[in-house]
């Protein structure tokens, strides 16, 4: 009875003018759940054999492997992202502007390229081994397996956390830290006791992004030969062409994702992170690094050199070998244009879809908004190829005229990457005082006007972070692009894959390097030339 009572007490909150935003939010979440519908349809066709296979010991081992990898990568990513975000945003780090761009760039390296580069550089008899051999080092740790998958995924996914934390830091009112300092805390103490707890929302959102990315990744785990669920799914459909048994496996994966989402939910508190009272946040005073300057620089250089310089060096090596043998690079420019175009469109559309979801999640807490939020993660955690099959299934039935057009492709990107945009937005939105919006409403602006003239400018850093995340991830997206793009719509990622698959390494390298450049330019424009709020 108490449940009914609490629901009955609620309707006051659902004011009529809000129904529009609820409809948009629910529609966005439903969109992300389309693949789940497809999986249920296909799994219903599965025979008892497929189900009994799922209940075997092998499946349990895969689940444990996947969960362990996701946990280890997430922990390591947080350990990297938090200090890097703080160093580049809040300290007098030399070349901070440059570091801000450089530390995000690993995101543009597809995990299969990164893994391949690591195998060449760090594998048995690789470049590092031959460098160390004269020093008497006989063998280095085995790169294949858990270690390699963990290293690769950590270095190429920690920027997800970094971007979200950085947006959170930019929105953070420095007055809180200054109060802590004035109450006798050291800079270090203020960081741990005030800044980090205030970053709880971006930390949780970013961790979720990393963990679910790891669960859905195929490139790194297949190169490093570590058995995760996604790898098993790929192997199964690639060999047996049996859609129903793949669907059954995917449903187990979805169950794992729900467990991760439940863990994340239990960590969230109903805390308030925005300012109360008068005044607005202003630019923070930069903290002098003094003696820590060199260790900080060396640490950053180490991370970027492994995550960025190693893959780039391998790509350059292939390119130079190819150039010497007179290799040509057909179609690489139009692919670059297609990549940037599709990624920008995906970024814009995904952010637009995520805004209503982020608003109801932050502003209208309750059962429905919780459901909407969780549902948005379903598409993201599934292997891209499964989402592609789902959209073939639905688009040919619902909108056959749009099948294999840019519209369905962008829709697929939105299904896949919606949570990235939401994470960016949410951490900014929690800092906006509802009072400001209410004041705007009181001054006779309707909810749309209020959103565009008040809320949107205030959450701009989060919008930008969300856009950047989706843009970068779309740049390297492969399986959905291969199947859903308009026919002959080549992107840099598909070129890179095709040439690498055919062992035309020089052409693959040209596409890979161009992909990095195309990803870097927007990042430099967005994040390069300002420091935090001091604009």
């Amino acid at each position: 009875m108490s449940v009914i009572g609490s629901i009955a007490a609620r309707p006051l909150r659902f004011r009529p003018h809000l129904s529009g935003i609820w409809m948009l939010a629910v529609a966005g979440a439903a969109m992300a759940c389309l693949p789940l519908g497809y999986l249920l349809v296909r799994a219903a066709e599965a025979d008892a054999d497929a189900w009994s296979r799922v209940l075997s010991d092998g499946t349990l081992r895969l689940l444990l492997n996947t969960a362990a990898l996701a946990a280890a990568v997430t922990a390591a990513s947080a350990a990297l992202a938090l200090p890097i975000a703080y160093l580049t945003e809040r300290t007098d780090l030399p070349f901070a502007r440059w570091w801000r761009s450089a530390t995000i760039m690993p995101l543009a390296i597809p995990s299969y390229v990164g893994a391949f580069a690591f195998i060449i550089a760090l594998g048995p008899n690789g470049s590092l081994q031959s460098l160390l051999a004269p020093l008497g080092v006989q063998s280095i740790p085995e790169i294949y397996g858990f270690f390699g998958a963990w290293l690769t995924l950590t270095l190429f996914t920690f920027p997800y956390l970094l971007l979200v934390i950085r947006a959170g830091l930019r929105d953070l009112d420095p007055a809180i830290e200054e109060s802590a300092r004035s109450l006798g805390q050291t800079a270090w103490g203020a960081f741990w006791r005030v800044t980090v707890p205030q970053l709880r929302v971006p930390l949780a959102a970013g961790s979720l992004l990393v963990a679910l990315y790891v669960i859905s990744d195929f490139g790194a785990v297949s190169m490093m030969q570590f058995d995760t669920f996604t790898r098993a799914i790929y192997i199964r459909f690639g060999s047996a062409f049996d859609r129903s048994s793949v669907a059954v496996l995917c449903l187990v994966l979805v169950a794992l994702v729900f467990v991760v989402l439940a863990i994340d939910w239990s960590q969230r508190r109903n805390a308030r992170y925005h300012r109360v009272g008068s005044g607005t946040a202003r630019a923070p005073r930069l903290i002098g690094l003094r003696r820590l300057r060199w260790p900080a620089l060396i640490g950053l250089a180490l991370v970027t050199s492994i995550a960025l310089v190693v893959p780039v060096a391998v790509l350059f090596h292939w390119l130079s070998v190819g150039l010497q043998s007179g290799e040509t690079f057909p179609g690489v420019w139009s692919a670059a244009l297609n990549s940037v175009y599709a990624s920008a469109l995906a970024g814009g559309v995904t952010v637009a879809v995520s805004v209503p979801i982020a608003i109801v999640v932050v502003r209208r807490p309750g059962m429905l908004s919780r459901l909407v939020d969780r549902a948005a993660y379903v598409g993201y955690a599934l292997p891209g190829v499964v989402v592609a099959f789902a959209l073939i299934f639905f688009s040919l039935r619902a909108v056959p005229g749009l099948y294999q057009t840019i519209a369905v492709l962008i829709f697929a990107y939105a299904v896949l990457f919606l949570p990235q945009a939401i994470s960016g937005l949410r951490s900014s939105l929690v800092r906006v005082q509802p009072g400001i919006e209410e004041a705007s409403r009181a001054l006779n602006r309707n909810s749309w006007q209020t959103f565009f003239s008040v809320t949107l400018p205030l959450i701009a850093p989060g919008v930008l972070a969300g856009f950047a995340l989706v843009f970068l991830t779309t740049m390297k997206e492969l399986p959905a692009t291969l199947l859903l793009a308009p026919i002959e719509f080549d992107t840099l990622a598909t070129n890179l894959w095709g040439h690498q698959e055919d062992v035309f390494f020089a052409r693959a390298a040209a596409s890979g390097l161009l992909l990095l450049v195309c990803a870097a330019l927007p990042m430099i424009i967005l994040f390069g030339n300002d420091r935090g709020l001091r604009t």
Binding site: S239, G348, F467, I487, G498
Partner: protein, 344 residues
């Protein structure tokens, strides 16, 4: 803050403009397509653009037919075709292996080809019911380091000997490897195959994600013997004379001497049979077959074209006698590979 917002608005405007531009250009494309409808062909190719792109261009030149082609993984495309059903925009499916073709045939997604096309190739290189035809072949070989393996084994079954402990590589997720294991099950029986697989694992076989890294690994000195297809090495030696490695053919008649194929099929969903058949004819013509010999270093299978000079000719290879369609029993192979621990 304001400048951030200004930039955000700029981005939104750019995205909108770009979206409009593409929408308009897409409309233009449609009009153009309608005009050319008489001479079009849509291909789903599991074979890469670097491999078959030039051949497609040549076909367009010769026939004036405008080809639209989607490149992706053979398996992904097969599942996509099944998912598309009767609405599939594709006319022709060009696959990297017989297993995917057989799966589509079983699911009723293909139309049988005329006898003059399937009769063009040696026995066993076309489906018995005519649902697909091979366009080129690739032999399973051992890639070896001639320096470190002066006396290579004559059979894959010798690789479980202590002599080769930790020196041999395989790629259990690779389609060609799985086809080879399927062939071994068919020829030598389940028990022998399981024994061999367990023997290889006990002998510390090194696992690779696919074939090409094994060729690289033999070159780098990381590996002495790899179970691969014949053409990876020729591809490397044709651009780099100093590339280290040699192809070694195992005993005739055993699974190690399997010839795998790439093949084409006509989709049932296609209403464009004429152009589709012209394309398949072209692949099997002397020009098409010569391309496979000269450019992809595969075995030609039709029109009397000879194999690449450094290769043992196809008719001397004497591959194991088994129908390539029987290689579609991948399910059993996967279960076996999983049971012995070669696959997750």
């Amino acid at each position: 803050m304001t400048s951030l917002y200004a930039r955000l608005r700029l981005i939104l405007c750019l995205v909108l403009v770009a979206g409009l531009a593409i929408a308009l250009s897409a409309c233009g494309d449609d009009a153009q397509q309608a005009q050319e409808d008489a001479g079009q062909l849509t291909i789903y190719s599991g074979r890469g653009e670097s491999l078959v792109g030039p051949l497609i261009e040549r076909f367009e030149e010769l026939t004036g037919i405008s080809v639209r082609i989607r490149y992706a993984g053979t398996a992904e495309l097969a599942v996509a075709i099944l998912e598309e059903g009767d609405r599939s925009p594709a006319d022709v499916y060009y696959a990297q292996d017989a297993g995917a073709l057989a799966a589509l045939a079983e699911n009723g997604a293909l139309t049988p080809l005329p006898d003059d096309l399937t009769g063009n190739v040696p026995d066993g290189f076309a489906d018995a019911s005519g649902y697909w035809v091979a366009t080129s072949g690739r032999a399973r070989v051992l890639i070896i380091s001639p320096d470190r393996v002066p006396d290579p084994p004559s059979s894959v079954f010798d690789l479980v000997e202590p002599e080769w402990r930790g020196r041999v590589g395989w790629a259990p997720t690779n389609g060609s490897f799985q086809a080879f294991v399927t062939a071994m099950r068919q020829i030598h029986g389940e028990e022998t195959t399981e024994q061999w697989l367990r023997g290889m694992i006990a002998n510390d076989v090194r696992v690779y994600p696919k074939n090409s890294p094994q060729v690289q690994a033999v070159h780098d000195g990381e590996l002495d013997i790899g179970l691969v297809n014949h053409y990876y090495l020729i591809r490397q030696t044709s651009v780099d004379d100093d590339w280290h490695g040699a192809n070694h053919f195992t005993d005739a008649g055993e699974a190690g001497a399997l010839i795998n194929i790439a093949g084409v099929a006509l989709l049932r969903a296609s209403d464009n049979d004429k152009n589709a058949l012209r394309f398949i004819e072209f692949l099997l013509s002397e020009e098409g077959q010569t391309y496979f010999r000269e450019e992809t270093f595969e075995y030609p299978v039709a029109a009397g074209v000879e194999a690449w000079p450094t290769l043992v000719p196809l008719d001397e290879l004497d591959p194991p006698s088994l129908a390539l369609t029987s290689l579609s029993d991948l399910e059993g192979t996967l279960e076996l590979l999983e049971r012995v621990g070669a696959l997750p």
